[in-house]
């Protein structure tokens, strides 16, 4: 058996939750072009300066929508997130007039070839 690492893209739609005056999504992001990519525990390539999901609140809108920890966010509502600063990413996710955000995320999965051949 051998290990294969590949990534696939997924579209996730998160409905924001209203808490008082704020709309929250229920996850935390890390990364950005102004940050240090070597300290990112989730990226495979340590020069990757993209935005990653570092935490997902239990029971929050993000978890419900299927977002997982370690996902890399490629697009938010059509806006590219691979070459943005940390603050820009935060702003794009927390626009006050948006109640739904549609994310394009990339997830790494490790699966054994044997398992896969057994499943298929």
């Amino acid at each position: 058996s051998c290990l294969i690492s590949f990534s696939f893209q997924q579209r996730i739609e998160i409905h924001k939750l209203r808490q008082g005056d704020n709309l929250i999504l229920g996850f935390s992001i890390g990364g950005g072009i102004d940050q240090d990519p070597t300290q990112n525990p989730f990226s495979e390539d340590k020069t990757d300066k993209g935005i990653y999901v570092t935490r997902v609140t239990e029971g929050g809108p993000a978890e419900v929508a299927g977002l997982q920890i370690g996902d890399k966010i490629m697009q938010v509502n059509g806006w590219d997130m691979t070459m943005v600063t940390h603050d820009q990413a935060r702003k794009r996710l927390t626009k006050r007039n948006e109640e739904v955000v549609r994310l394009l995320v990339t997830r790494q999965s490790l699966q054994k070839a044997v398992q896969q051949s057994m499943m298929s």
């Binding site: 929250i24 999504l25 996850f27 935390s28 992001i29 890390g30 990364g31 940050q35 240090d36 300290q39 990112n40 570092t54 935490r55 609140t57 940390h86 935060r90 996710l93 927390t94």
Partner: protein, 525 residues
């Protein structure tokens, strides 16, 4: 007080070991009998039957007897150059009769060299004076008068000769500290140079001035001054050749003692092999721990046990392939499952534990003993004259309380033959006089020190032989190996050249040290 120190019976012979060649020669022969017989009896238990004509791989007795002869004659060998160890053994028999003459011959050689140098030096020193005085003595009336100029030159000659005298005294008048096998090349070269130089000056003087009775006195005095100037330059040359040239380190030598593998590194400049050997030996006495034969018995007994395990039966008769047989034996020994490594490990761990325990007891005993002594101040000395003791008495008073612990510790670390009761008492009174703490007193006994620290009788190493494949007057080169042998062990010296270092420069502007903060922030959305 019972005698605290005793010596092991096997090694009692060593206490009579002395440096004199004839006596050591005899003692050396006696010495070889006792340990050899002890080891010989052990190895006789292992019976190995081998094809007789072949090289005995395990024939310990035969090789040791030969080695015994080698060591015995090796100590009185005077000069060994350009020959390997093998040729020494062949000259054994011839050397028996030559020993006496050789030892006398060596001294003669040294004194001859010194006399020649002294005579030459005296001649050289008196020559300018002779040059100046001879015309005055022989044809005074014919000389042109020479006033102020000549007097000025006389003063300069006098002072230059004085400087030369002081310089020669500083450079050459030293106690010879060693007996080297071959003549010191640079010194001989300088002597020859000086001789030729002075000879040519005398020749010129004799032909041109004495024979023709030159009347120009100023010219003669200037000739003498030029001689003294040239002598000063030769003195400068002597300093550079003899002293300065070897100061810059060019080689690193590694010295390894053959018996226990203790090694050191030294830096040397351009030296001949014999002078390098001298430097190594001078440092040996200071840097290496003293050679202790008692520490080697454990490995010897292990080696003997290895031999005892195997038996080889020759079924095919003589003419068999002996090397193939020995190879088969070594392979069999390697495959054999033996637990000697286990034994070694536990033995060493046990020994360490025992040493540490004894050491702790010793420290406590000595600390307690030292608390009983108190130094009297000047005023107190008048108050209680009856109880006052000098350091020796004080040492004798506190010695019994620590004697047993010290004796046990020395026995465990196998150092007991290096310290007699008298020497311990002396050291104790020395420490008391100098206000040393118990730990400072014990420093001498806790770890084996360099050879210089101990009594000359215990050194085991006073006569050295230089064994070298190249001439001992040739200079050090990269890769040269020579061996300094004494009776019990040898020092293997390996010479390596210090590599050529290429150093380049990089300039850093002090203003270029700038930093940036690298964060990995996490924001919750």
């Amino acid at each position: 007080m019972s005698a605290a120190m005793d010596t092991e019976s096997t090694y009692s012979g060593y206490s009579h070991y002395s440096g004199h060649s004839k006596k050591a020669h005899r003692q050396g022969r006696d010495r070889h009998k006792s340990p050899r017989s002890k080891d010989g009896s052990r190895s006789e238990k292992s019976v190995t039957i081998q094809t007789p004509p072949a090289e005995p791989l395990l024939g310990n007795d035969a090789s040791r007897a030969e080695e015994g002869q080698d060591d015995n004659w090796g100590e009185t060998t005077t000069a060994i150059t350009g020959t390997s160890e093998h040729s020494i053994s062949q000259e054994d028999i011839a050397r028996i009769s030559k020993d006496l003459e050789d030892s006398v011959g060596l001294d003669c050689k040294r004194y001859l060299g010194l006399t020649v140098a002294a005579v030459l030096g005296l001649l050289v020193f008196l020559t300018p004076i002779a040059f100046i005085l001879l015309p005055q003595i022989l044809w005074r009336d014919d000389l042109e008068p020479c006033g102020t100029v000549c007097e000025g030159l006389f003063i300069s000659v006098a002072f230059k000769l004085l400087i030369l005298l002081i310089g020669t005294w500083a450079l050459f008048f030293r106690q010879p500290k060693a007996d080297l096998p071959r003549v010191f090349v640079f010194r001989a070269l300088l002597l020859v140079l000086i001789f030729l130089f002075v000879f040519s000056y005398w020749l010129f003087y004799g032909v041109r001035i004495l024979d023709s009775k030159d009347t120009n006195y100023q010219g003669i005095v200037q000739y003498a001054v030029s001689l003294v100037d040239a002598l000063l330059f030769i003195h400068y040359l002597a300093i550079v050749l003899l002293e300065l040239r070897q100061l810059q380190p060019m080689f690193t030598v590694k010295v390894v003692r053959s018996t226990d593998g203790e090694s050191r590194y030294y830096s040397l400049g351009h030296l001949s092999i014999q002078r390098a050997a001298l430097v190594v030996l001078e440092n040996y006495y200071r840097d290496f721990t003293v050679y202790n034969p008692a520490l080697l018995t454990a490995s010897k007994s292990r080696a003997a046990k290895h031999m005892a395990g195997l038996k080889v039966y020759n079924l095919d008769g003589p003419g068999n392939n002996a090397s193939g047989q020995s190879r088969a034996m070594i392979a069999a020994a390697a495959r054999r499952r033996d637990s000697s490594h286990n034994e070694l490990y536990y033995e060493e761990a046990d020994h360490e534990r025992r040493v540490k325990k004894r050491r702790a007891r010793l420290m406590v005993a000595v600390e307690e003993a030292f608390t009983h002594i108190k130094r009297l101040q000047a005023e107190e000395q008048q108050k209680a004259p009856g109880e006052m003791m000098d350091p020796r008495e004080a040492a004798q008073a506190i010695f019994p309380s620590m004697a047993r612990a010290l004796q046990k510790y020395l026995r465990t670390t196998r150092q007991q033959q290096y310290h007699s009761m008298e020497s311990i008492l002396q050291h104790l009174s020395f420490c008391i006089t100098n206000n040393m703490t118990p730990k400072a007193f014990l420093e001498r006994y806790l770890n084996p020190g360099p050879t210089l620290q101990y009594d000359r009788d215990r050194w085991f190493s006073k006569q050295w032989t230089l064994v070298s494949e190249e001439a001992v007057t040739s200079g050090l080169q990269d890769g040269v190996v020579f061996v300094l042998k004494c009776l019990d062990f040898s020092l293997v010296v390996n010479v390596k050249k210090i590599p050529f270092i290429k150093l380049s420069e990089e300039f850093i502007d002090p203003k270029s040290h700038k930093f940036v903060l690298r964060l990995q922030s996490e924001t919750s959305v």
